[in-house]
């Protein structure tokens, strides 16, 4: 016979309260450190300061300056535009590619071939970005770069300035971002597809649905959850993008690929104006924080994370 409800509940609560002691040290350290740092950063954002000596209180001036500064506006715009090559395009390409690999290649040429492809597309995600940066700079340098040397050896009389004009650099960098991100979205979608009940697809096939119809009318709707989550996580990583810009394009030429993270980083690094950098970082952290909280609210079942 079961114990009365109130007794069971008492026991449960006693046990739970005992367990909750275990949460205290970890959470305390985490929240105190990060929260404390954020608060200090918030305080710095109201000061004029070069990083040492006493900060000089200036009220809201940094924030006013931030909204008037065209550089800041431009970097923010770049971060938002980054969503296109770092989130939207990889999501849809990844979805399509995952369907091809999983539903088309794998049944015809074997799973080993499909997983080999997956590994290749994932490579840019695992090699340290500092290295990837060196590699791309080595390839695309206008004077000593491999690509131009190769063209030169094969009769080209001119040097192509790959990464020297703003618009060209932005376009090439966007392509590199797609190249970087595709592996991640592909991985998530393949994981999502492997959970799908294959009976539905077989039934569709018997009814004479072509591969593309299956993709459009069955796979996409079934992957809706994954698509939404991948779009959101990659959008967050687009907004806070740092390493690809820092190591591959260096924010140049003429700040054409500068984003808030690298802009703020340089200001901190040179110690030129800590207060102003802190104000940008504060607004930025707030935006990413709200975005993430919204994502968590949305994320009920699947636990997809950026790796």
């Amino acid at each position: 016979m079961k114990k009365p409800l109130y007794l069971r509940r008492m026991r449960r609560e006693r046990i739970n309260s005992k367990h909750s002691l275990f949460a205290i040290p970890g959470l305390l350290i985490l929240i105190a450190t990060v929260g404390g740092a954020l608060l200090f950063n918030f305080y710095y954002s109201f000061t004029r300061w070069i990083g040492f000596g006493t900060p000089h209180w200036v009220g809201l001036r940094n924030y006013r300056y931030m909204f008037q500064n065209p550089d800041v506006r431009e970097t923010a715009l770049h971060a938002v535009l980054t969503i296109i090559p770092y989130s939207i395009i990889p999501t849809f390409l990844g979805c399509f590619l995952a369907a091809i690999l999983f539903q088309y290649i794998s049944p015809r040429f074997g799973e080993a071939i499909a997983s080999r492809f997956r590994g290749i597309f994932y490579l840019p995600q695992i090699v340290p970005l500092a290295m990837t940066g060196v590699v791309w700079n080595w390839l695309l340098d206008s004077k000593t770069g491999l690509l131009n040397q190769y063209l030169h050896d094969h009769g080209a009389k001119w040097h192509i300035a790959w990464m020297e004009k703003p618009l060209a650099t932005q376009l090439i960098f966007a392509l590199i971002l797609i190249w970087l991100q595709l592996g991640f979205t592909l991985l998530i979608f393949i994981a999502g597809l492997s959970r799908i009940d294959t009976n539905i697809l077989e039934a569709a096939q018997i009814d004479g649905a072509t591969w593309f119809t299956q993709f459009r009318l069955i796979l996409i709707p079934l992957l809706r959850n994954e698509i939404a989550i991948v779009l959101l996580t990659t959008s967050i990583s687009s907004l806070k993008i740092f390493a690809p810009v820092y190591w591959i394009s260096h924010g140049g030429p003429n700040n054409a690929t500068q984003v808030p993270s690298t802009y703020v980083f340089h200001q901190f690094y040179n110690g030129s104006n800590v207060g102003s950098a802190a104000s940008i970082a504060t607004v930025f952290a707030l935006m990413v924080g709200v975005f993430t909280a919204a994502l968590m609210k949305f994320q009920q079942r699947a636990h997809v994370v950026k790796i």
Partner: protein, 281 residues
């Protein structure tokens, strides 16, 4: 296995070309790094090397005095990973097994902390390390990375422990085990595989970390391997010296990518499941 028709070969060919484009940058660097000087001069850039040539490996290692930097990276990444797991494990146990009221809120806070751009905390932390006299010491990097990634580890471990089989817990409660005993003798052995995957993941994140080491470690002798190589090789225009031997540079790239690639090969299957780690397996 389904029937292959001409169309499927065409699709395979298109895919292969796409994959080739994906791998070419790394392929060029890798083959260049292991080609002998004779091979480099006589064969085309695209041609595979005739033999494995280790001389650039040794040159790169000696040129950059890479042994201490490699050890720095190993030291920083492993201790930081240990701190993350230690902090996260107890919290996740309490949240995932105990299921207290506000655990969704706590998990949201963890994910927000994980997502927050590092530039919002790097300068205060830098001032803090100066104040307690550990600026330039690797312990400053280790502590902040350990704490930051514990947020993500807490989130992931909690979602895993949420699904922990109820029957085992019920049995344990009936036997009247203490929290500590439950944690040590039942939970820990069963989620060891998840912990191992998580540890490998965080280790690589720490290994590839840039902003914190760049700001907190001004001295090249305490810096991590990827940063030392990349800054020396012209990955960063402020400090680079592009005039150096291209082969040595290529080898440097290969060297600092090795740990990540080993990680990927070991944990490929887990990664393929999208790190959903929904069950205790």
């Amino acid at each position: 296995m389904k029937r292959r028709n001409p169309m499927s070969w065409v699709i395979l060919a298109i895919l292969t070309i796409t994959a080739a484009i994906w791998i070419i940058p790394y392929y060029l660097v890798f083959t260049y790094a292991i080609k002998s000087p004779f091979d480099q001069a006589s064969t085309s850039l695209w041609a595979p090397p005739h033999s494995f040539n280790a001389s650039y490996f040794i040159q790169a290692w000696q040129w950059g005095d890479l042994t201490p930097k490699f050890l720095n990276s190993v030291y920083i990444s492993s201790v930081a990973t240990l701190i993350s797991l230690l902090l996260a494990f107890f919290t996740a146990f309490s949240l995932g097994i105990g299921k207290p009221k506000h655990r969704t809120l706590i998990l949201t806070i963890c994910m927000v902390i994980y997502a927050i751009p590092q530039e919002a905390i790097v300068f205060p932390w830098f001032k803090f390390t100066e104040a307690i006299n550990i600026y330039g010491n690797q312990i400053g990097v280790i502590l902040i990375l350990g704490i930051l990634y514990s947020a993500f580890a807490t989130y992931l471990l909690t979602t895993v422990l949420n699904e922990f089989p109820k029957e085992i817990l019920e049995a344990a409660y009936v036997d009247g085990v203490s929290s500590w005993r439950l944690l040590r003798s039942i939970i820990f052995p069963l989620i060891k595989p998840t912990l191992a995957t998580l540890a490998a993941m965080i280790f690589i994140w720490d290994w590839n970390e840039y902003m914190m080491p760049l700001i907190l470690l001004p001295n090249n002798n305490t810096q991590t391997l990827p940063i030392v190589i990349a800054t020396a090789l012209g990955g960063n225009p402020d400090t680079g010296s592009p005039g150096m031997n291209v082969s040595v540079m290529a080898m440097g790239c290969v060297l600092s990518a090795i740990p990540s690639i080993i990680f990927f090969l070991i944990f490929q299957r887990t990664l393929a499941r999208g790190i959903s780690v929904g069950a205790v397996d």
